[in-house]
Symmetry: C2
Subunit: 416 residues, 2 copies
Amino acid sequence: MLRRATRLSPRVNGQRLNGWMSAIGEFGKNPQGGVTRVAYTDADVAARAYAMQLMRDAKLSVSVDAAGNIFGKRAGVDPSAKPIIFGSHVDSVPEGGNFDGNVGTLGAIEVARTLGEQNIGTKHPLWVVCWQNEEGGTWGSHLVTSDPTPVELTTMSQSGKRIADGVRFIGGTPDNIAAARLRRGDAHGYLELHIEQGGTLERERRDVGVVEGIVALGQWDVTIDGFANHAGTTAMGERHDALLSAARFTDMVNRVVTAEPGGQVGTVGRIQAFPGARNVVPGKAICALELRDLEDRKVQRLYDVIVAESRKIGAMNGTTFAFQHVITHESARCDERVRSLIGASATSLGFSTRSLPSGAGHDAQNMARVCPMGMIFIPSVGGISHSPKEYSRPQDITNGADVLLGAVLAMDAAQF
Amino acid sequence: MLRRATRLSPRVNGQRLNGWMSAIGEFGKNPQGGVTRVAYTDADVAARAYAMQLMRDAKLSVSVDAAGNIFGKRAGVDPSAKPIIFGSHVDSVPEGGNFDGNVGTLGAIEVARTLGEQNIGTKHPLWVVCWQNEEGGTWGSHLVTSDPTPVELTTMSQSGKRIADGVRFIGGTPDNIAAARLRRGDAHGYLELHIEQGGTLERERRDVGVVEGIVALGQWDVTIDGFANHAGTTAMGERHDALLSAARFTDMVNRVVTAEPGGQVGTVGRIQAFPGARNVVPGKAICALELRDLEDRKVQRLYDVIVAESRKIGAMNGTTFAFQHVITHESARCDERVRSLIGASATSLGFSTRSLPSGAGHDAQNMARVCPMGMIFIPSVGGISHSPKEYSRPQDITNGADVLLGAVLAMDAAQF
């Protein structure tokens, strides 16, 4: 007979969970550490098969939706109640780590397994999810929370397969993608456990992060036109050096972004110079600019300042700046009530907490369009991610799964 | 019967010379203007054949030396006198112009043709030269003024051929390269007419430049090591952004080079960021640095300042700088006496002159090791070269050849 959770919180089996973490790290393992488990590759399929087996072992009913996402479902007591969805992903960036995504997916399966073992029933159905191709741009959650166009499905992915072909490769049915659609109200709530990928929790010695929201992101290509000329014969005062302007631009972006308090970040990740020869004054340069902040308005405001400052830089040496918009992601706020129950779950377990934004994108940002959403972060050692050096301690992984377990049960009891 | 030059200076046939200039522009002509006539390609061979035909038309005795250089020789009156060598090159950079090199080569042939037509004899033999592969690094003059190692001859050239194969392709005999050796004292003097490739003469409205010397050049690869991390999750204060340091380095190089008066130039022609992704804080950057000045010591001093300043930049965000030496060319001073007779030739023709350094390398810098050397510059419109927009006016080309003619005759009369 199923019993309801008591005030004495149930705990996950941390040893088992960390064993799974080691085991999944074999799929796409790199000699230098970490994994390359790009979505729609054999390593991705192998890791997904492993996750499905763990779901079955946890007595979940496993299915792959039309968009290629894996769901492990467990019935609730109330037949009219909407599901609580929680999970993450198992794909990685090229030469990435074994913690980004895996912690949240395997942590969610461990929560379901613990509830099953302890015969703890819930009012709401529980759906453990493993989203497909998160690293390529949260594709799995995007496809089920929007109405993708056929053209979108032809986007080339990192694997070399187009999205539709990739979805088919992992067992989805891209021609019937609408069957997987989740609309507002289709779920009671969404929870995602994840590594922080930054150094805030470690630096401030906090056990658990309660995520405020996922930052807004803007990306632009900045093209600077000058005039290419001989680097030996063109006097310094006669130059229209596009790379010099790109350099001043890069320094200025850093200055503008750090000029005020807050968690905003700004990055120039690449500068291409043309012709790019050692003995030619560059006549053209292209910079890749990215700005992120929890406030969409701040991203826009910083961008406006950067555009204005770049005009001054161009005027210094007769170069011109042109900004081409690449992408904008609006910020996704975590639901206040979900943040509150995550915080309460952590506190009741004796963990120190901190509220913080997520600087990285997550499937949770898409699920915010469907239901109240929240995220739990655990510390990343050294703040490193998307790297073979990505690491989170076993105890922190266990802690995160325990907080998730408490939050699932609290969400089950909550009236949203 | 040959006659000696009179005080009334002979003049070249400018119309003929400029007709040749147009004709040679057909070899490797680009649709967008200018030429691509890279050494050791079919276009190069075609332009060389044209130059050889012009030499024969000028009644010069044509030969190709072991290093692939073309000589058009005319006997002197004094059998013991050393030759006066003058000329330039006909190869170009990819997508270059039709004036760099051609003006000096065809101008030299026109001088010889004029002397022949006017029956003007000289004491010294006259050797009109067309050096091979100037743009790849003054290879033709280098090979005959040094003792190249077999390894050097395996250097890959822009054409895709190794130097030895390229020399063979254009009619040289690379296995017998020592036969072409020119040693100190083997020539009476060397003269080279060339376009300025900078904007000084045009800006100051001078007809002719009397070159002071060819600048010293130093090139380095500057590798900056930081730490790659997620651009969304890594707080600004936690970053070791190698590209930000590269940007500050590039701005600093400009500041250091322009901080004092003089003709020194400093260029960062390329910055490569690693991994170079839009959403990753760059962990590594490589900058291509080049410094030039007429004073070797100034190049070294500026470099020392740049190295010291880079340490401060690295300390700002925990990045490190490493400088790898690529190449050093020592400066080559033009002979004072040759400068003087070039200036006198120009002045006697009514041209305004200006002394100036050559920021670009030329075959003349190698010939300075053999004999007294001087160079004549004519204006480059807009100071542009190594570009389809490279242009020098027909009148300036004629003027330059007239100055060369006078300088050859004055050198013939001079006791060095």
